[in-house]
Point group: C2
Chain length 470, copies 2
């Protein structure tokens, strides 16, 4: 690709080393791990400060240049990959990686948006606090991307979505102007809560450059159990018992089918089956407490005792130490990755009201098995949040390409059932490019119109991550 005539100007703003124009330098920014998208860009820019982001955006606005912000490039809907047209500049936040302030007494942390999620977690831990956001990609995803996509993960049950963890934001607007909304207040009712639009806005309204985040007491006691049971109906009942007894101390409740656990045993380094026999379904239940005084082990035993008595549980293993807790989570966190080894996988990230999860799974599993006989549904995820990653692996020995060609048709079947349960077709991954067309089917014209009005109020030239969401 020819170097852009604008590259020299950008080099003056942020240094030539941070304007990437060769194919080799750009490569890591142009593909993503599912291989669904491959992008083309005139250049990748890596500004190192809010002022540099502002200068870049101001110039881009004046010159009608389209910009795609990119964090750790772990997004699952193509939002962060430039379009094939080759017009969109990639703005990587990787160098915006400073921790700006740590306030353990006020339970807040202020970081730049390029800080990797695991680093945010570690910074909190250093001061005996917890930043609860936790997900499979935490070693490489960046907090700015987490916020822009309102990431979910495994701690939503007790701590909420990323939206619930953000106190304030600093954002560079499409015009290059800087909005300083970096507040650490727990209560502030002074006009429209602007940060809510950038959270989950998928980079279409501005570029998040820094965030003030909520911290929590670090769990001092942690218990986990790996539970074998017959079906999701039993799992929901165990969830209700656990929620009633443990309340806010119930910090994880993840459901997995046998086939998913088997994939992990077959393909995931270090995975071991926590239970001796095989069970059709599994639940990973975690309880934790920031205080030493709660009898968390007793609580876990009480919940499981009640569940055994009600004949809801077939078998259960208790983690005897932190290493075993990690072993349990290793299986859960590996569940997405291992599906690659089993050929093509058609994916859905859906949510329904919590109480509807078993009925939804019954219907959706039957429907996809009727659509592709021999396919292997691997629905897993956050039962307590009503959020299931309804992934369906190809039949053993089937042709991968031919199977993946059924993606849209299978999506339509599953999303139709989701709609019957008043659910969401994107519970935590966002819309990006992958689900943009689907959005028109599930949203009212009024809702889409309101979104368009917001987009055009913030980005009248439609230069910020164009073609995502809307």
């Amino acid at each position: 690709m020819e170097p852009s005539p604008h590259a020299e100007r950008f080099a003056e703003m942020i240094g030539a080393a941070n304007v990437l124009t060769t194919a080799d330098d750009q490569a890591p920014f142009l593909t993503e791990w599912r291989d669904l998208y491959k992008g083309v860009t005139p250049m990748v820019l890596r500004p190192g400060s809010t002022d540099e982001v502002s200068a870049v955006m101001r110039y881009a606005y004046e010159n009608d240049l389209k910009v795609v912000p990119q964090g750790g490039n772990t997004g699952l809907v193509g939002g962060q990959i430039p379009q094939e047209s080759g017009e969109e500049i990639v703005l990587s936040l990787t160098r915006m990686n400073k921790v700006r302030a740590v306030d353990p007494d006020g339970f807040t942390l202020t970081v730049e948006s390029g800080v990797i999620l695991e680093t945010v977690q570690n910074e909190a831990e250093k001061v005996d606090r917890l930043f609860p956001l936790s997900l499979g990609a935490q070693g490489s995803c960046q907090i700015g991307g987490n916020i822009s996509t309102n990431a979910g993960g495994t701690a939503v049950l007790a701590y909420g979505n990323t939206r619930d963890l953000v106190l304030g934001l600093e954002v560079v607007l499409p015009t290059g102007e800087i909005w300083n909304g970096l507040r650490t207040l727990r209560k502030d009712n002074t006009g429209y809560d602007l940060k809510q639009l950038f959270i989950g806005g998928e980079g279409t309204l501005g570029i998040i450059t820094a965030a003030s985040l909520k911290l929590f007491p670090k769990p001092k006691k942690l218990e986990a159990s790996f539970i074998g049971l017959a079906n999701p109906h039993a799992a929901l009942k165990v969830f209700s018992m656990a929620k009633a007894q443990a309340g806010p101390l119930l910090t994880g409740f993840e459901i997995m089918p046998r086939v998913g656990v088997q994939f992990c045993l077959d393909h995931l380094d270090g995975a071991r089956d926590p239970l001796e026999g095989e069970h059709a379904w599994y639940v990973l239940m975690e309880l934790s407490s920031g205080s030493e005084v709660f009898p968390v082990r007793d609580l876990m035993e009480g919940i499981l005792g009640e569940a055994f008595e009600a004949e809801l549980v077939e078998d259960a293993a208790f983690a005897q130490n932190l290493s075993q807790v990690q072993d349990f989570w290793h299986i859960r966190h590996g569940m997405s990755e291992v599906q690659k080894a089993e050929g093509g996988s058609i994916k859905h990230d859906v949510s329904v009201p919590v109480a509807s999860i078993p009925a939804f799974l019954d219907e959706a599993i039957a429907a996809v098995e009727a659509f592709v006989p021999g396919c292997r549904p691997v629905p897993f995820g956050h039962l307590g949040d009503g959020n299931i990653h309804f992934n369906v692996s190809q039949p053993v020995g089937a042709d991968k390409e031919a199977y993946l060609a059924k993606w849209d048709e299978m999506n339509a079947i599953v999303h139709g059932i989701v709609a019957d349960f008043s659910g969401s077709i994107s519970a935590e991954h966002g819309i990006g490019r992958l689900k943009k067309d689907l959005l028109r089917d599930v949203k009212s014209e009024i809702e889409l119109d309101l979104m368009r009005r917001i987009k055009s109020a913030f980005d009248p030239k439609n230069l910020m991550n164009p073609g995502r969401i809307l």
Copy 2:
């Protein structure tokens, strides 16, 4: 006032009995309890369904009629009172009072916006659940107003602001169109989270007609203590101890000065001093648990034991039963009302980072005492949220009008100190008309401009609650 030429048309839409045009009928809608605002309106409309609200709004939009939505008329910043110009129609949501759905298993409740907060609480209690929003006006305020102002109250510490309790909204837009965003999902990342703009939007972007709300396990164990201590510095340290030990079970931590408690003893029916001696400051601490198994009483004793040992606490009373818990809260909830009996009171609803509360109080108390010698600061409220109602009663025997004439000057002094601590000039009451001019001092031009763009995207004719916030 002459009947409006439009009254007849509205009568066709919602029934003549629901178009109030006489002074007597209108009176309750035109004043509020602080007597800061007295409004004039051509008519008060009381639609009884979403379709009726939609019809009213469509007609108003087509005919360029300004509309002020009103819930329980307990707002504290004049947002719900029509302006003196007499142009604004009052749209009362009082008849929108149906409970639409109760789902105890899914921990959700869907109600129309005119349902009184206490009714919402009671509906939750009927199915053994808790709707945690709790504030002094709960017997008359309506949930739609709570949502439109993102109400705070005494349960924010454990359960968040009203914003955190809303899963979905139904809204009639300024054009009369109905946006059905009534979802009960815990996770949904399908585009901009539109409901966030109406929450805390103070009725300037549309009229909330129904809401889906989060429910929680009903506390089975509840403990409260009334603590006497020397100063807010000690109170903050006790708060840190309590938060570390009790975590999410710490459901209340309210601070009050002696003068406020004394006002209650003097003027509030049924108020009794929980402690024998007098103390400069008091804290009401509450712990609660949805489970029977937590040793909540032990926890309370543990926290207070540690605080006594550290010499932070002078005396403390434990509630021995639910009636005593209510006695403690009776004092706290009465604290605002009793100030009326002591003459003029200049009020501030401010927040600062939690750890800055003691330093803020030291500075602000000294500053107002220097400004009006003999004045009686009664700062009280939600220490754990960093939110203080910094109310200042007039000197004994002073002239009320002359004292209240210093309102703006005292505001400027206190808000200046708030700004030094990066705080908020409206932590939970909103902006309305009272603080509209102040907003320009504390917000950047960029932030105000973004708000104006949103307002104009949603309400291009500026007919919805005009002159509030912006």
